[in-house]
């Protein structure tokens, strides 16, 4: 088995210690670290995403796999020559004001990261002002927001209104249990995703790039 496949397998099996050993081996044996990240760690994380979608994995498994993935990432990333890892673009993500529920957002963030995007995480209970300000400052390609509570959906609308004015070039994607395509259309968001898979597809589609 190729060392990249071993890396991917160790991520899927949630074995942080093994990922660490494999990452060190990658460097010892002179494999390009950027390739090891893409063909090993990221591939493993994508498989985790698939398992999560078909419900074989649940939140704890995803988070533990992610921890294993980051163990390897933190070893390999410093050795990558600047610019060698293609950056698909920056996504700014957060849970809107009034809501604390962010497990779903965290998983979407992980998977987008594993797909090659750079993520800026604003956390939870993010006010309309803070969200807009961050978009203006960070100039991300995509602004992504979620909520779990019906009662805080109107914050999303306010953010869309502000962004259309202050950062008209940013693409907006939304998600969360009470949200749906009709709501997305009604507030003028560019994409709605029902689950983490769709979020990944949507992010690529919005930027016109291949997954």
């Amino acid at each position: 088995m190729h060392i990249y496949d071993k890396l991917a397998k160790a991520v899927v099996e949630m074995k942080a210690a093994e990922v660490k050993l494999l990452a060190l081996q990658v460097l010892d044996e002179g494999f390009p670290p950027d390739e090891a990240i893409q063909k090993g760690l990221a591939v493993g994380m994508q498989e985790v995403g698939r398992l999560f979608s078909c419900k074989d994995y649940f939140v704890p498994e995803v988070l533990v796999s992610a921890r294993a993935m980051y163990t390897g990432f933190n070893i390999l990333k410093p050795k990558v020559i600047e610019g060698a890892v293609a950056d698909k673009g920056t996504i700014l993500i957060g849970v809107v004001e009034g809501d604390y529920h962010d497990i779903g957002k965290n998983i979407v963030k992980l998977m987008l990261e594993a797909s090659g995007f750079r993520l800026v995480d604003l956390g939870k209970n993010v006010s309309v002002d803070a969200f807009t300000r961050a978009v203006v400052e960070e100039k991300p390609a995509i602004a992504a927001m979620s909520t779990l509570m019906t009662t805080t959906m109107d914050s999303m609308e306010e953010i869309v209104v502000r962004l259309t004015k202050d950062a008209p070039e940013v693409k907006i994607m939304i998600g969360g249990a009470p949200v749906n395509q009709d709501f997305a259309d009604s507030i003028g968001a560019h994409f709605y995703g029902d689950d983490v898979d769709q979020a990944i597809v949507g992010a690529h589609k919005l930027l016109g790039i291949k997954a």
């Binding site: 419900k55 074989d56 649940f58 704890p60 533990v64 604390y100 019906t150």
Partner: protein, 850 residues
Amino acid sequence: MRLQTFNRLFPLVESGKVAAGPMTAADHLAFLLDRPINEVNGNGELIAEGLLKSKEIYNPDFLIVFADISVDAEAMGAEFNFPATSNPNPKRNLDSEQVSTVDMAVSGRIPELFKAAEIVRRETSDGFPIFFSIKDPFSLAAVLIGTDRFLISLQENPESARRLLEKCCLSQIGLVKTICERGFIPLVGAPIASGSLIGPGWFEKFVEPYLSRLFDVISEQNSFRCIHICGEVASLTPSITRLKPDLLSIEEWDTEMWKHLPDTIPMGYVSTFLFNSQDTERVEKATIECLENLPKPCIISTACDLPPKANPVLVKNMMEIAGAIAPPLGPPSECAGDSFIPLHNITINPENSILEVKQGANIKRELERHGRVFLNNCGNRGECLSCSAIFSKNAPEMTETERLAFGEHSRSRMTCQHTVTEDVTIFLPPHSVHNIKKPLSNFRATGGVSGWGIGVDLGSTVIALYLTNLESGEVVNQHSFLNPQIKFGGDVMSRLEAAKNKKKLTQITSHTHAGIAKAIDHLCKSSKISRTNVGDFFIAGNSVMSHFWLGHGGEGIERVPFRSFLEGQGSVRFDPKIVGLPSSSDCKLCPVIEGFIGGDTVAAILASDLDLMKGRRLLIDLGTNGEIVLAKDGELCSTSTAAGPAFEGVGMTSGMPAVPGAIRGFTPDGDPDVIGGLDSMGICGSGYIAVIADLLETGVMSPTGLLEKDKHGNRHWSINSNVVVDQGDIRKFQLAKGAVAAGVETLFKRAGMKSDSLDEVILTGSFGSRVDPVSAIKIALIPDISVSKVTFVDNGAGRGAVLCLGSQVYQARAEQIQKRTRVVNLGETNGFEELFVLNMHFPGSELNEI
């Protein structure tokens, strides 16, 4: 204005809603009675019998005493043939100049119609509207001398036509006076004064002036200006606007016209032709169109009187669709003569008995006719679930209330809400009397005060009232019904969203007040006490229910940090008038602690004495919003956690409420323990806890929650073809379980306590059936302590509310609980997320950090 008129006309229909009923003439009544038309149309007793029969079949909100359009002309002297199979036809018209004014009330068949009206009034409840049909002077004149001749005379000899109209008008003025004096409502039919026949010009000249005089008399008599106009009406708008009818029955819809009639109640206009067919779909569509178009409140009715052989099933279809407010069922029918209605079987399990019943019959009524006894808590309005059965074959389409109460995929239905349209198989346990709440065992007030009190558990799904003798402390009667707010959203969050709309909020509040007022009435009547003797009234509900009760929306509850303006306010007194109690009664709302820790939790704390007892105790309410209270020698610390509806079985593949047919656990032999009978139909909330514990113990499910694959390679576990647990169900359950267990762990950490130091774990919640403590411990839903330390408080909110009735001591304790309880906000607690995720796993998992 329109609403006021509507409420006066239909005192039995809840304010602001839709009334419904078909227009029937003697020909259709004869059909229903299976008699020749000419036997019925001149016989008051038979007309009454036909009307009462139609009332029983169609459940209308009103009846119209009407034979046919020749009645009035006959009374004025015209002669008619009376065939057996059709309506009367003219034998001899009169000449215009032969006509003289007559005393209509004593002429022709009209005395028989009054007789019919009197019988109907005797046989229906007080306030049931009975319309008495008469013709407008123009149509009367046309029938009297022949329509063609009359229309020609309008052109050629308008003076003679006017003289005729005058005599018709005077005769009808006499008749409407008698109708009003006898307490019926005149309904003026204008079959010939129709826009399509005569146009607006003649209407204004020859119809309007006479109608206007008739209406003036009706107004003087303090009755209602009701008119039915056949055919096109839009062109008559200016005349109709001037006539200002209270009620206008139409055959054709015109949006523009109704803009000019803001005070008129619209009635109509389901095309009568549709009722000759077998086409339910078109009737449904037409009815829905009426419901959408007619300004509310309105009356859904047929566009004109029903054709004689109108298919009763279709009429019932119209009524069902219109009747979101299905009126109470009439008495059981024993009438013969409706052999044209096809028969169907109701198969009742588990005893496998079969009832043969007529198509269109109400299922509950049929079950009652065959000896079934139900608790009738809501008067067959589909509000109390007490008559629910599970339809294993041909479950009828769900009502909105059922969808919200049972869940989208459930096969439970309230039998009072459905009629037989095909063979059905239902599951009803033997001696099915299942109430939604537990019996009143050892449930009492402190006593020693005089008078009566009512304690209320204002639940977001079910509202329960407990009538209590304050002297003895005994709860003597109870009444439960579905929370009427359910139509604004199944869960509290969607109702909060709805309540952002001021109008909806007003409705939410007023519907709840009205529902409780009605329930008080019912309790008092059935216990034979006067409501003026109810001196104490105490309501416990969660914070959202409390806000709505006081007319407030979410205001703080719906967003972090989930605060309520009621915090620190003590018990809130409210005006007894809103629930129809005397102004002297003491009406209060239980204090709330915080946005998601409400009066229901305060009441449950009271009911379990958590605030007084020594030792370390944990109270967990396993509901959609899981409230958790930790008590250390009476010192209280509380939190709430969003568990979602999994513990109530909602959203799960085989989830169902704790009603007969639900698996609630396992018997000691390891067989599913099914409520009420043999075949399991699904799993209720407490059942899921037992089933998942069993799956874990037998290794079918791993400690991470992963199910074994079955022989088809699916992660699926099935008890029988009806009942399965799939991987998605387990995942939903893990979220709920993780949230509650993490909440408990957070409280322990805050208190610097270990779970093994607990003296008691008290479970409460809306399971409807008790949780098996062994299972709950096995899956680490509750802390791992000796099973003997796990206790239950049923109806914590109801008990607490009753305890507060007339008791200064309990009310003071409630206020102390509000003041002293420390609230932990999990969203703001560092490390909660990690605890939440870790607790999604079951015991045996190696996961100990994220």
